[in-house]
Symmetry: C2
Subunit: 366 residues, 2 copies
DNA sequence: CTGAAAGCGCTTACAG
DNA sequence: CTGAAAGCGCTTACAG
């Protein structure tokens, strides 16, 4: 590839030394006399030499590159986590090879294969599907450490995992509502179809965050001695419109909830809007809790009470974990880090019933 | 690197053929008989063989990787553009090597150097600084095509550029306000320090989007015969709090503006909040225009009138442009694509004065 | 401190 | 259709 300019041979020739010596001077390894180093550096500068990283990687066995696989970089959650990853790995001299799976397992498998072929030193993966991590297992088997981000996957028992304690996060939000006096608490969830599975209490792996949050909801209510009312569990897709509809149907039900938990940020925005459009006054008529501290949550009135995930940290920790593996703790047993989310009470949640008087007034109206 | 499993030699030996033949069978190039191919494929599967992309790239001269350099992946603008890039380049068989510069030229130079060393086939760069693109020029000189995204850079005359027509975008927003009757129109801008330069009308290159938008503001007012009042140009950093302060000082001035343009999404959120906190009723007391169609802009009341940038498209077009270069149009003259932004009128802008009656009432109150 | 030689794992002419 | 050999551009023992 002469188009890519001078090679080490050219530099060595120009400096009147062997390629071994030129390589040592340029690469900063081995011993070189100051005089020689200067001559080589001068020749390299003259020729505009840049090391061929491909050749170097082939012999050193390291590319100083890590693969990062997410379902959607445009999602603020992953974008922020990605920033956390690069902020940690970049100073350590690693570049990031990025892949977007769009949430399909096929795309993920392809991405993992390509990254393996490009010989990334390790991978951080936010999986598309909770089941069957055979492709990830395979990567680990050939010596590429993988760190699972945000999502547990079955079939990769040896991978490190960095997740958020979603069960606790959701449970805390529900506990907050219970404490305020709410008894009919609805939930808008992407995991509506997994309610039965969630209630039966299967193991963690194989459950994605939305399902784990739903479990937190279920557990918190059960702990308070409240029976789960399936009519209060509103399924929705990961779209504002879908959440809008879910909220609407929740409010249309015979005995509507007095409070609603939305298990992610997009769902919360749709639900918020539906409540607004219906002319409900929050928090007087309805308490609402969302996930993630997005800009809009403090711009709307009332400001939204949320569960704040340590998103940036999630990425940063994953990066650090991978760096640790790469730095030699290759055979240590898998690490499973769970970060805590934080309930941030703002204006969209309030006591129910609002006050004894109002309670009375409500009764009289009947 | 035996840790990385079987090599082509191992496969060839197992299949009883030469490495040349094994390579042809596996790589899908050259001629191989069906019988041989089957034997090779079987052996490869048996051994869990994966091509070493490093070795392949070294001989083919292509890594099927493009470098993408942005200032901040966590910024929704770049995250969305990045998604546009990957959606276009991934089906074409390219992976993305990502770098975050944090907005400093040094980090950008380092990123570009490393990407060159890793032999990316091309790069898409959202520059950290408008001036001195020597490092980018250098990349192009050694045969790595560069596409500039969103930001013009001096010193790289041969690079393709994909930008948004920011001057037009801002001018259109101002024209909308003028049409509504506003005459005192303020602007909150990151390019406050460049007002003089903007007014003198220097060339495009060397000006970043914020400055170009400020120019759009200036031009639109001038076209309407309105003199620029420097007290209406409020400088702010790219932070919500800073914009909040800028808006506050704008409203505190002796003759406050009746309408304000915010030249990006973060500034708009801070300004919106300041107006709210002051108890101003929008759009009756103040008209406000922002940039970018972020979720919050339709969640707040009133909904925000905005200039919508084709962010995803910006990335997609950049990806396509780079693909074109790579596909052979290497020597064609540089392309400069400018995408149009779109004014989306919602509820935060209204006629001024509101009506003759109100005008009268206003007068009487004095 | 320096150099000759081998080798990383592929693909590519060139013969046959 | 298949194979022997060269070569991509480095780094790494091994001698000296």
């Amino acid at each position: 590839m002469s188009t890519h300019g001078a090679s080490l041979i050219d530099v060595a020739r120009a400096a009147g030394v062997s390629t071994a010596t030129a390589g040592r001077a340029l690469g900063g390894y081995g011993q070189v006399s100051d005089r020689t180093r200067e001559r080589v550096l001068a020749a390299a500068a003259e020729l505009g030499y840049r090391t061929n990283g491909l050749a170097r990687s082939m012999v050193t066995g390291s590319t100083q590159t890590i693969g990062v696989v997410v379902t959607d970089v445009a999602n603020p959650f992953f974008a922020t986590a990605l920033r956390g990853i690069t902020d940690v790995t970049s100073p350590a001299g690693f570049e990031v090879l990025l892949a977007n799976t769009g949430g399909t397992r096929e795309a993920e498998q392809r991405a993992v294969t390509v990254m393996s072929e490009k010989r990334v030193d390790g991978m951080i993966v936010a999986a598309a599907q909770p089941g069957d991590g055979a492709h990830l297992k395979h990567a680990m088997d050939v010596g590429v450490p993988v760190v699972l981000l945000d999502r547990q996957v079955t079939g990769v028992p040896d991978a490190d995992t960095i997740t958020i304690d979603n069960e606790h996060a959701a449970a805390e939000a529900v506990a907050h509502l219970l404490e305020l006096g709410h008894r009919r608490i609805g939930v808008i969830t992407e995991a509506g179809d997994q309610l039965a599975r969630v209630r039966s209490g299967s193991r963690r792996r194989g459950l994605f965050p939305s399902a784990v949050r739903l479990r937190g909801y279920v557990r918190a209510l059960q702990a308070a001695g409240i029976e789960i009312d399936e009519r209060l569990v509103a399924p929705a897709r990961y779209e504002r419109e879908s959440a809008y509809d879910a909220m609407t149907s929740l409010l249309d039900s015979a005995v509507p909830p007095t409070a609603v938990l939305c298990t992610d940020n997009v769902l919360a925005s749709g639900a918020y809007r539906a409540a607004q459009d219906r002319g409900l006054s929050m928090p007087a008529d309805l308490s609402l809790v969302g996930f993630d501290d997005e800009p809009w949550t403090t711009l709307v009135r009332p400001e939204l009470t949320i569960v704040e995930q340590p998103t940036y940290d999630l990425g940063a920790r994953a990066g650090r974990q991978l760096l640790d593996r790469l730095a030699g703790s290759a055979n240590r047993s898998p690490q499973h880090v769970q970060l805590k989310a934080k309930l941030v009470v703002r204006e969209s949640t309030a006591r129910y019933p609002a006050s004894p008087q109002e309670d009375l007034a409500r009764e009289e109206r009947k």
